[in-house]
Amino acid sequence: MELVLALAIGVLTASGVWLILRPRTFQVIIGLSLMSYAVNLFIYAVGRLRVDAPPIVGKGAANPALYDDPLPQALVLTAIVISFAMTALLLVVLLASRGLTGTDHVDGEEEGE
């Protein structure tokens, strides 16, 4: 379980960084999205991994060891919403840039022109 999650985070981050370093705007956006997935998984992981444990403690529950840490889940929820909004905003900027400059190069002009 830990290995799978660690691999997932690692692969997502590596692919994200590679895409961010590309010169095309769309690749940069996809790269940022992949990295935000990796970060979200990472936040989830710092609350310790537990399988089949509910994060909501019912009335009269005595042993917190039976429950998952609810805080990382709340944090991830917020982080997902924010990164979603930022991706949408970046997409608008991308389209504007594409429309104004006629190219999807990040600098707004092709190399060698």
């Binding site: 961010i20 705007t25 940069v28 940022l32 990295m35 935000s36 970060v39 990472f42 936040i43 710092v46 609350g47 805080l71 990382p72 944090l75 917020t78 982080a79 924010i82 990164s83 909004a85 930022m86 905003l89 970046l90 608008v92 900027v93 991308l94 504007a96 840039s97 429309g99 104004l100 400059t101 990040v106 600098d107 707004g108």
Partner: protein
């Protein structure tokens, strides 16, 4: 301590702009006058509330009592619920933000609010994000408010559209989204090790972290620090900053003058709170990085200012000089020097904002053709008619006689402030910082000498490059008297007037700054104030 209705005022700097900006979204863009009036009224109300918060702190603080006030949102006790904290530093930053917002908003009513849709909503959201970041007491909410203010700043940067803004915006948004990801990683690591995100609780628990986890916590802190320093504009994380700020419309750029200071605020708040003089590994953790980074930023800004060929370039690199000076001085050591740094923070932010507002007015005199909207509109929906109207209307408006005298006077004032020449507050601020640096210890470190040298040289560099630009723009015979409205000159006057006030009342202001510095070093006081505050329901029963 009994709770009074005034205690609830602390949420108003966040709620009020949020509500008004929601109303702004619902009303038609055609209600321009109403929108302008409501915006300015909101900002004024926030300013008044900020001043009340400050007076309440001063009233308690002068008697030597701890002036930090924590407010429990939803009445949940401190480490578990969300707390808002107002103290000397946050009250100061709130007032600074509201002053800048007021000046920028008045300036925008002259024409800039019309060059794109939904300016008011974005502007008020930006103010809300700033206020929230200054008030919040835990790291995750700091992140959320950072995102709010950044999201609004993306919109404001693109306000007016045009190819230059979109190109700069693409880089600005990408860099900041990356910085936000680092912020989240750092926050998550800190939570993973300590199990808390409340700043006061974190400061309390940091001494009890087991030895095997310290390396992990330090990495988390370092990653978080990098995220803050990207916002603060530390070299080499700031290459995008001068170009972005140059592309923004003047009122947006004036408000952006405080954006880099949010990074500085976060460094001040978290670094001074978590890493004290006592307590194992946490003794002044990362201090040398702030110092060296500050010196590097200062050097980069100085070179950049000398190389800048436009006023926008000068202003952009001056932002870096201001950030570098502050980071260097914060890193140089503890003591009197921090009071001077805070004075410099206020003075330089106001001066930079005034310069950004003035810049467009001065250049308008030169360009003669007002290039209001460059390129095709991008986020255009209901604005086209208004825009056509605007171009016919731009000839109307009260003109100030002797425009050049007003512009030249303002220009000289803001240059004196930015360069740190006597007699204005910029000089006093630099003097206080240098004096503090010299007082730090018997043997002044070589890095301190570098810092002092660069502080002086950077002022000279700003003076040289602004003089060069000023000769070009202001000393040439005036062919066409540029139109200048009262609503454009007044905000510059407000900002410079506040700086003049800072100069005249330098004594009381410096005492406030020194008191702020003492409260920042008083880690125990902050921890107690936040963690010991009781929810209302418990207070009633005891």
């Amino acid at each position: 301590m009994n709770s009074t209705p005034l205690d609830h005022l602390i949420v108003m700097p966040i709620l009020l702009p949020l509500l008004t900006s929601a109303i702004m979204l619902l009303t038609s863009e055609r209600q321009r006058t109403a929108k302008n009036v409501v915006s300015i009224a909101t900002i004024l109300a926030v300013l008044v509330i900020d001043i009340i918060l400050l007076l309440r702190i001063v009233a308690v603080g002068l008697e030597g009592a701890p002036a930090t006030r924590a407010y429990l949102i939803g009445d949940w006790p401190a480490p578990f619920g969300i707390v808002l904290v107002s103290d000397w530093l946050s009250a100061l930053m709130l007032i600074l933000a509201a002053t800048l917002a007021l000046a920028a908003m008045i300036y925008a009513t002259a024409r800039w609010e019309r060059v794109g849709p939904r300016f008011h909503a974005l502007f008020l959201l930006q103010l809300m994000g700033l206020n929230g970041a200054f008030l919040t007491g835990d790291i995750f909410n700091l992140f959320v408010f950072f995102e709010v203010l950044l999201a609004a700043s993306y919109g404001l940067l693109l306000h007016g559209s045009g190819e230059k803004r979109v190109k700069a915006g693409l880089h600005y948004v990408s860099v900041n989204v990356l910085a936000s990801l680092l912020f989240l990683i750092g926050t998550a690591m800190i939570y993973g090790v300590t199990g808390t995100l409340n700043m006061a609780d974190l400061a309390y628990r940091i001494a009890t972290v087991p030895a095997r986890d310290i390396a992990l916590l330090q990495s988390g802190m370092a990653i978080l620090g990098i995220a803050f320093l990207i916002k603060a504009g530390m070299w080499p994380l700031s290459f995008w900053l001068p170009r972005t700020y140059a592309a923004a419309s003047p009122p947006a750029a004036a408000l952006f003058a405080i954006l880099s200071k949010v990074g500085i605020y976060a460094v001040l708040r978290i670094y001074l709170l978590l890493f004290g003089e006592e307590g194992g590994w946490a003794i002044n953790f990362g201090e040398e990085w702030l110092l060296i980074g500050g010196i590097a930023t200062l050097a980069f800004g100085t070179i950049g200012v000398l190389a800048a060929r436009s006023l926008a370039g000068v202003a952009g690199y001056s932002v870096l000089i201001s950030s570098g000076s502050l980071l260097g001085v914060i890193g140089a050591g503890r003591g009197q020097v921090l009071g001077g740094a805070l004075y410099y923070l206020v003075s330089s932010t106001l001066a930079l904002a005034a310069f950004y507002l003035l810049m467009e007015l001065v250049e308008r005199a030169d360009a003669r053709t007002v290039d209001l909207i460059d390129g095709e509109p991008v986020f255009d929906d209901e604005e086209t008619e208004v825009r056509v109207l605007e171009q016919e209307e731009s000839e109307i408006g009260t003109r100030i006689p002797a425009t050049i005298a007003v512009l030249g006077g303002g220009f000289v004032f803001s240059v004196l402030l930015m360069a740190g020449l006597p007699p204005l507050s910029g000089f006093l601020a630099k003097f206080a910082m240098i004096d503090g640096l010299l007082d730090l210890s018997e043997n002044i470190a070589a890095t301190s000498w570098w810092l002092i040298g660069l502080l002086i040289v950077s002022g000279l560099a700003i003076l040289i490059s602004t003089t060069r630009a000023g000769i070009d723009l202001l000393w040439t015979p005036d062919v066409n008297k540029p139109p200048l409205r009262v609503s454009e000159a007044a905000p510059v006057g407000i900002l410079l007037g506040v700086c003049l006030g800072l100069t005249i009342f330098a004594g009381p202001v410096m005492r406030y700054m020194e008191r702020t510095a003492i409260s920042l070093y008083d880690r125990e006081g902050y921890i107690q104030a936040v963690l010991k505050v009781l929810p209302d329901k418990d207070r009633a029963s005891t």
